[in-house]
Amino acid sequence: MKKNFSLIGKNIIRQDGLEKVTGQAKFADDYTFANQLTAVMVRVPVAHATINAIDYAAIENDPALTAIVDATDIPGAKKIGAIRQDQPIFAYDKICTHGDVVAMLVGESHDALLALRDKIKIDYTELPVLSDRTKALDKDAPIIHEQYENNEIVHYPLRKGDVETGFKNSDHIIEQTYTTPLIEHGYIEPEAVTAILREGNKGVQIIGSIQNPHTTQNVVAAVLGWPLAKVRIQQAELGGSFGGKDDTMNVLSARAAVAALKTGRPVKIRYNREDSILESYKRHPYTMHYKVGFNNDGKLQAMKIDIIADGGAYSSMSPFVTWRTVVQATGPYEVENVWTDVRAVYTNNPYTGAFRGFGSPQPIFAQESLMDEIAVRLNMTPDEIRRINGFKAGSVTASNQVLKDHDVNLLTVMDTAIEKSAFRKKWRANRQNNLAKEKSFTIDEENLFLNKDDFVDPQNVIKRGIGLAVSFRGSSLGAEGIDAAAAYLSVQKDGSAYLLCGLAENGQGLRTTYSIITAEVLGMDIENIFYLEQDTGLIADSGPTVASRSTIMGGGAVKDAADKIRKRLEDILKPEWKLTDSDELVFKNNKVQNPKNKSQEMRFGDLCKLANSKGVSLSVIGWNKGPDVGWEEETGQGDAYFTYVYGCQLAEVAVNTVTGEVAVERIIAVHDPGTVINKMGAEGQVYGGVTQGAGFGLWEEISTHEGMPRELNLDEYLVPTSKDIGEIIPIFVEGKDKYGPWGAKSLGEPTLELTAAAIANAISNATGKRFFNLPLNLEELLLNRKLHKEDLQRGSL
């Protein structure tokens, strides 16, 4: 039964919309402080080297220079990292990747500092560069971080049943290897941050394009050797993040803070696009080897999976990203016998970390390609094979978790998608079409004139394909970390309110979602909710804004806060109206009413005034802690996440068999995110996520030469434009769940993780060929390999 909501699931205008459409919203680079200095990074043009000496003599006395800041200026931790502290704020002993910064020049004029930069003499000894992730664990591989015995960052095994017996009992076995490339987040706003020393002993204030203010606070405090509360981090309006403004921003904030401390003046660091792409972390490239055994009836018997993820130079979030991979590597399928090894390794490539999807888009591409191959082998349709093996209520995952306490809607989302598109009919017809024998072309020595039917008929150049992909995804952090969130709600005596949650607005629209939740519980005008600035001084650490956890975790905290206020208001009103505790009141349309006696009614603002006059506090902290989850490291068994969401995306493509170009004509995206709270926001997540997913599938790739990225700006790195993708149809199946506000769960990442896999399957349906290496760009389709320049020269040089 659906609750009768006033605001939930309706179209509500964004909380922060007005300032964004008028250009008033203040992003990090829009802040200027009196007396502020700017900074320029000093790098070494190699991916791997030991630093012998840095000679600043040529610039030291230059009037354009206020200060040189390097590792010797750091009072506290010189290296940072969530699990392993392997990433230097300023590199001092060695260079591990091209993005490394050895020093920062600080002064008033950016241009003048750039000119000085070239005069610094850095004496370094080059070391062999490790750029191939599959060679990182070889005996003779160069070791990136000497403090560890080899280049393994992390290794997650998962052992279930007995794979050898499983393969023995299989009628068929397929083995394939898949790869995915480095992917840039491509937020349109490059990084910027300013550090300002505060008066007396108040410490430092930092304002920047920061995704996770509390993480930044932890890093800056460690680097300065200060107590946490002496470091105040404020998030400026954030111009996109997608997981990307975490570690990089922590490092930049720390550099700015050290420089502010040294100079006594505000220091702003602003990156241009080249700096951003060079130094910021990216999505992990994966090499994935899958072996699957299955029977004639389609039932999967065993899966053996070996995955190597390129962590690049620093461990960053690799231990978390690859953990999600090990949990979800077999896909949403029942497999009794599983043997999975997921490893993240160091190389000298750009380091990799969190990126929307977080270790899922890569294995989904592999496992969903494989499921289609199985279907073709058994002469089934893709939906049939998934129906046989897909999760249902009570299914057991690879980590031996029983799926219960929520609607296991995997097959429901798939059926919704295929009904919407006449999937089977089209899939079979396209397949028939690509099986039709290609006319072979032979040269007739006698007659060298071409016949009319020797020419390619433009009509036959375009082949259509349809494909789908499905997934299950653990909501929030799971056994990765502490899962709790806080919200602050302070209702004023006139009924207006301040609201803030410890999870941060990255553009996804959580201010709006939280305002909807608050207004729904209290029946107040949503326009009367004023969302506060994200500031570590105002709200408790709620963990990072990642893992599609804003709605389920932060939303739960906001609802808790609103529920507490509502209870206090009811406790005041019920005695006044001579009602008992069990009597219900209705909070709606800015009024509170007794539904049994409609003359008993009070304006919401008047009730707040009454509470104030009675000395009742209407300021509360809401708290939401996730249920316990567990994980056995040795065997990869346990209840990994407390609940899951399900999705199916279906792609229809047109492939030009002469150019290799793929046009995405239509994507149907069916998701079960639980209850949809913010409808326009949810749809926006789908449109945006699908478009990013299509980019991952077809165009985007950072290639490297000896560890150096070739694509350093948006002319060569291809972010999808308005003309690159056809229709996207979002459909929500709102399954029930006991967790999350009214059963609202997660959506942001599921929208991205499926698209590339669905497109790849559609391309196979069109061409009859299978492709194993993303992106499926022109050369991959026509030549089955990637064309990269030998070196780093740009096309025009």
Partner: protein, 152 residues
């Protein structure tokens, strides 16, 4: 340093600065108009879009000397007397804004299109904003918003 006079957001202004500064920098640093953004500095992202004599241009590729005597409109000059411009209103109505970083440029490109073609087809809207990258929205709600303006 030379004096440069041009019309900015419907007002004539004169500033003293070097001819070879980018219009983008003059707007942001000199005139405090930070609604115009920098995303790439090479004419690829459109975050720096302004209107020059009603045409959408990349202010990262224009020098201040080139706008002498011309009309420049930035996002700050779009709404008049506190009333939002129809394009701005429709962006709000359709949820065409997420992080908002591309939004000023996107709105100005849409506005430039509607100025010369008050009832564009969907393909023409896509074409008009193809130089404005948005990483958040997938463009759909933006296109819907612009199409809706034409319906009044």
């Amino acid at each position: 340093m030379p004096k440069i006079t041009f019309n900015l957001n419907n007002k004539d202004i004169t500033i003293t600065t070097a001819y070879n500064r980018r219009l983008l920098d003059v707007l942001r640093e000199e005139l405090g108009l930070t609604g115009t953004k920098e995303g790439c500095a090479i004419g690829e992202c459109g975050a720096c879009t302004v209107l020059l004599n009603d045409q959408a241009v990349n202010s990262c590729l224009l020098l201040i000397g080139q706008v002498e005597g011309q009309n420049v409109l930035t996002i700050e000059g779009l709404s008049t007397k506190g009333e939002l411009h129809p394009v701005q209103k429709k962006f709000l109505k359709h949820g065409a804004v997420q992080c908002g970083f591309c939004t000023p440029g996107m709105i100005l490109s849409a506005h430039a299109l509607l100025h010369k073609n008050p009832s564009p087809k969907e393909e023409e809207v896509k074409e008009a904003i193809t130089g404005n990258l948005c990483r958040c929205t997938g463009y759909k709600q933006i296109i819907d918003a612009v199409m809706d303006v034409t319906k009044g």
